[in-house]
Amino acid sequence: MSDIVLHVADVQKSFGGLKALTDIELEVEEGKTHAIIGPNGAGKSTLLNVCVGRLAPDHGSVTFKGHVLTGKHPYEINQLGVARVFQTPEIFPDLTLLQNVMVPAFAKRDGAFRMDALRSLERETELCGEADHILEDVGLYRFRHKQASSLSRGDKRRLELAMCLIQHPKLLLLDEPTAGMSRHDTNSTIELLKTIKERGMTKVIIEHDMHVVFSLADRISVLAQGKIIAEGSPEEVRGNPKVQEAYLGGAH
């Protein structure tokens, strides 16, 4: 049996009277891709937000490799090796692509704070080369001196992915990484995510696009109205009548 990297235990979260998450139990194995699917408003993004410290759960805990994540600052969670791709791309719009990718590389190398005010950026050739390679991997190398705000939405997502990948995170959380992408871009992103899997990175992915989910996921949890209603391998989930009901008949 492989190790459990992320363990979400008995998590509850409500906003006012609305129960967004109830009794969530989730275990993600090392090196696997775990997909969380579910209809709109099922609580998928809330769950990810609890994992990265953006929201504090009302009850329960999230542990990552033996570290309790609940109550930690987002930057502390990142320094433990958890990176996140957001639903709307969170990049540095005023910086060039190269700079966008270099900044996370500094966080990985130097920690949460380092006063390097008199060091020259030009001496960072090693990080710069690494950043160039990552940009090549995601197919954005030719825009490396462009301002990030000039990118298309799909390219911004790929840039954000590159910003996470350069940190070599142990766990990568992806919130709809292919939303807003053309079919062609979606396929290339799937290929990219597959190569990361070969490198042994654990991933949790939220996705609407079933094509993406079934191409990537080793395991799927189905979330509906804040509860996990099914969990299993892609084949098991595909055949589960509860899942079909949640997707097809859950709109009433």
Binding site: V52, H73, P74, Y75, N78, Q79, A83, R84, F86, E90, I91, F92, P93, D94, L95, T96, L98, Q99, M102, V103, P104, F106, A107, K108, D110, G111, A112, F113, R114, M115, D116, A117, L118, R119, S120, L121, E122, E124, T125, C128, G129, D132, E136, Y141, R142, F143, H145, K146, Q147, S150, L151, S152, G154, D155, M163, Q167, S182, H184, D185
Partner: protein, 405 residues
Amino acid sequence: MRKIAISDGDIQVSTRQLPPEGPEPKPITPAAKDWMLFLGFAATVLTMPIWLQPLGAAYPDLLQKFAIFGIFAIGFNILFGLTGYLSFGHAAFLGVGSYAAVWSFKLFTMNVLPAMLLGVLVAGLFALLIGFISLRRAGIYFSILTLAFAQMSYNLAYSVLTPITNGETGLQLRGNDPRYIDRAFGVESVGLPQTNLFGIDMSGYPGFYFCAAVLIVMFLIAMRIFRSPYGLKLRAIKSNQNRMAYTGFNTRPYLLGAFVISGMYAGIAGALLAVTDPLAGAERMQWTASGEVVLMTILGGAGTLIGPFLGATIIKYFENIFSALNEAELASAFSFLPPPLQEFAVTIVNPFVGEGWHLTLGVIFMVIVIFLPGGLVEGFRRIGRLFRGRSGKRTASQAEVQPAE
């Protein structure tokens, strides 16, 4: 494919790790460009007494102010230009630097170096305290907190702290000040002593060259900060602070660092004000003074290297030259016109000079903010692009490949 070198303002990282895909013209490296900029800046500053002659601004008092407020604005820009945090209380650090310097003159020695050191240290500590509290909030709340602190300092300097600040009269030198270090070395002076740098009097042109030397050093430090990983991270905070947190950075110490550095720049400027004229008054800390450095930075171009100095020079020039013009001088300036027209021109221009110089400044500021949000430096860049014109344009459009949608 041609390698695209699109300048993004001040920070450029170049790498030669991956081979270019075709022959490319040898570019000027960013480092060489920086040295050219630095040498150009130093030369411009040191020759100000010559090239400002025709503009009527080449007298030491005003030149000193150009350099001193240049330092103030360059430091302010490290906070505002890089992180986007707009402080409305930086004059407090200027004032504290002045008081500390004058106390150094009174207690220790008339040598300016200990005074500057004390000014920087005290202003830095003060900035650490105020920054630590104010940076708990961002945006407008941060601005208001800094404004409140500065106004508190100003009022304290006027009232409770009179033993230290000498209240309304301002802190001045006296013949009977202790000056322990000077006395220990047997330096005695008749009447009020002069500030000096190992015997060189710091008034007039020597005073200006001293300020100019400090300005050039401070410009070099600012340039290093702009080109450092730290500077890049500060710009990233300005661009998207949320992403910075999820990227693993604790942004608070970064911001506090920038705040303290800019406070120390203000402290140096304040100390230099005391060096060139050894008295310190509370009005130096008033909110109008804090607002002035904001104007200087935005007028010249926030986030650029030379913008703040440019803005400081222009504002100080207007303050001293335009405010000194009067109706008679205007009449003689328009004397080439026939009398009725001359009278008309004088009537129109008169409200904008003398007491009304603020009006001129206000109009200029409005024009800049509306048409050139990047300040005068952006204006120069646009003009530069116009001149480079067509030849550059064609290669750029060939190289610019739009991302596939």
